[in-house]
Homo-oligomer: 383 residues x 2
């Protein structure tokens, strides 16, 4: 399924030899048309990887024919040579596919500050092109994994048209997206402006609200390609909702596979004066290392929630704050509430509700706990 | 030494039974005069503990006769009862010492959201008062420890006058101060306005730049009490520098004792367009969990430094950034620099220089690595 669930797309995933361990590391997704409208959302990190700088240019035309994705190297902080390598990758795919290089987006993920082995990557593009298939979506999803333990795909099918996609990302999930590469495809007939609008609306409330460890990547990319092969033109609202649903599904999969996590934490901020306030408070709670450790220890330490709320600029009165953990209002009116012993934290999902008692807006942020396994994975990552 | 290094002060530290394990948990510091000028700096967290709300009121007069400090409970998020308990603590000390309650500051540290055992605390104040001594500074410093492995004191002596102090804090160190209680004393003749000015200037570049885990406490308090007992009136600049030096010394001790840390990381941001830019960049680097894990693994992963810089609003050109780790310029002009294999990371202190190439301002932020021990300490803290 994945990126080939929608009609008008082929994909492939192969081991090009970029990863030393021989695992799959190169994916190719091709839009076979008849239309080639596309939209993209990129990291807001000001230090952007070469493939992000390139793909931002590609997306300016609103047209994408193919996407080359590699794991095994981020091609970030690699200077002019890194940018040349991305350009050469697009040129190679364009040559093999008979398209213009400016229609080929490139995504990379892996270690920052290392040049890609172009002597393996370029032949890999040829090999992948030879294996393109309408059933290649799973293989493509597998080839973009880094520390992901599982590959991530999602599909929504409506009356005669489909939105599908794949994602990678397991750490460095943060605001303004994560080290996350996502390619979504649809066979609906949708122009690039509507794609852009739907994609931005979807990422704003899904990927943007997945905040695993507060670290923003240099490489985050979410692409949405439309082939028009279904010949169905959906209502905008229905289409946008399908895109949102696929993004939400993939976002949840990213959190569930976050590095070293043992708990998925859903932080629901309610009764905020504004949505911005709700998001700011949710993020502040999501990034509180002390709370994340407490949740790991199955400790309903609501004081750390209040302490995190207190660092924000959101509208609230400290004496009116309420906090529920897994349905138990452990904090009422800024002080001790129901008995914390009542909180059952044995399960993987933890649900925190922070009631600001300052309005009627709400937002939900997803994060995970902080564990010794996270420390282990990330202290040994590049060595 | 500690708070009794300066003349005109007595102190005591006892086990009042607030901590279940029977360790010392109550300290009393008394200014015996002849003067009682004082200044205070408090947490900028909007969720403030009862003792912070009380002590802020006390400090408005610029006069403090005594400070009661307890570990074993933060008295934060404890509602009106918590505030009454703080008030009763000040009243008890005032009664025993023959002062007004409004001249008694109160500091608390420990778990949030739990009422203090007043049946132990109030008799403890009487016991401590009976043990007040000009040599009680060490005992007071010991009684305010929570997860601190060592007690922290510092002293600077100038021509005829002294500034000394004690500090506690080992986690939750963050901007706008840490879960940090600090009492500084001096026998210099200095008015409350000059004390306030010197203390704010000192904390701004010392405690405020110690950022262990990005978590801001509800209880942070730094007090500076002046007895005038030396009868020496120092030059303001010399006095301010002595206060800064004591704060800097105590701040360094806090970082070295940070929970679970195996590395002390000095982040020096140079060639910034403004001091604010330098501080923002330094904090962003200090709070990057991925970098903190990498340093723990003795991995000079400069890509994570660039990635952290890229999330700030500071003025810089990504292609002109330089990063040195322990003296090796591993990143030059935004890309690969000297061989990372040259970086020796075997020692506890790690020195990161981030060169923004955008001006001439500088700032230094201290943090530590993120370890499995930190996770362990903080996942088991309240259970």
């Amino acid at each position: 399924m994945s990126v080939t669930a929608a009609k008008g797309f082929t994909a492939a995933g192969i081991a090009a030899g970029i990863k030393a361990n021989g695992n799959p590391d190169l994916a190719l997704v091709v839009n076979t048309g008849p239309r080639r409208a596309a939209a993209g959302v990129f990291t807001s990190n000001r230090v952007k990887a070469a493939p992000v700088l390139w793909s931002e240019q590609v997306l300016k035309s609103g047209q994408v024919s193919a996407v080359v994705l590699n794991s095994g190297g981020a091609n970030a902080c690699t200077g002019p040579k890194g940018f040349q390598d991305t350009h050469a990758t697009a040129e190679k795919a364009a040559e093999v596919l008979g398209r213009g290089a400016i229609e080929v987006a490139v995504c990379s993920t892996g270690l920052i500050g290392v040049l890609l082995p172009m002597d393996k990557l370029l032949p890999g593009v040829e090999t992948a092109a030879a294996q393109l298939s309408e059933h290649g979506g799973e293989k493509a999803a597998i080839a973009i994994k880094t520390t992901d333990t599982v590959h991530k795909t999602a599909v929504v099918t409506k009356g005669g048209w489909t939105v599908g996609g794949m994602a990678k990302g397991a750490g460095m999930l943060a605001p303004g997206l994560a080290t996350m590469l996502v390619v979504l495809t649809t066979d609906a007939v949708v122009g690039s402006e509507a794609l852009d609008q739907a994609l931005r609306a979807a990422t704003r409330t899904t990927f943007d609200r997945v905040d695993s460890d507060g670290c923003m990547s240099t490489n985050d990319t979410v692409l949405l390609l439309a082939s028009g092969a279904s010949e169905v033109t959906p209502e905008y609202a229905e289409f946008a909702e399908a895109v949102r649903a696929v993004c939400d599904d993939l976002g949840q999969q990213l959190i569930r596979d976050a590095e070293g996590a043992s708990k998925d934490i859903r932080i629901e901020v309610v009764n905020a004066a504004s949505e911005d306030d709700a998001v700011e408070v949710g993020r502040s709670i999501a990034r509180n290392n002390l709370l994340k450790c407490a949740i790991h220890g199955e400790d309903p330490n609501w004081g750390r929630v209040l302490s995190a709320i207190g660092t924000t600029r959101a509208a609230f009165d400290p004496d009116r704050l309420n906090v529920a953990i897994n349905g138990v209002w452990v904090c009422k009116n800024g002080g001790v509430g129901e008995d914390r012993e009542k909180v059952d934290m044995r399960y993987r999902e933890v649900h925190i509700v922070a009631d600001l008692a300052a309005g009627s807006e709400t937002a939900t942020i997803w994060t995970n706990d902080l564990t010794a396994d996270y420390v282990h994975e990330n202290s040994a990552y590049s060595s």
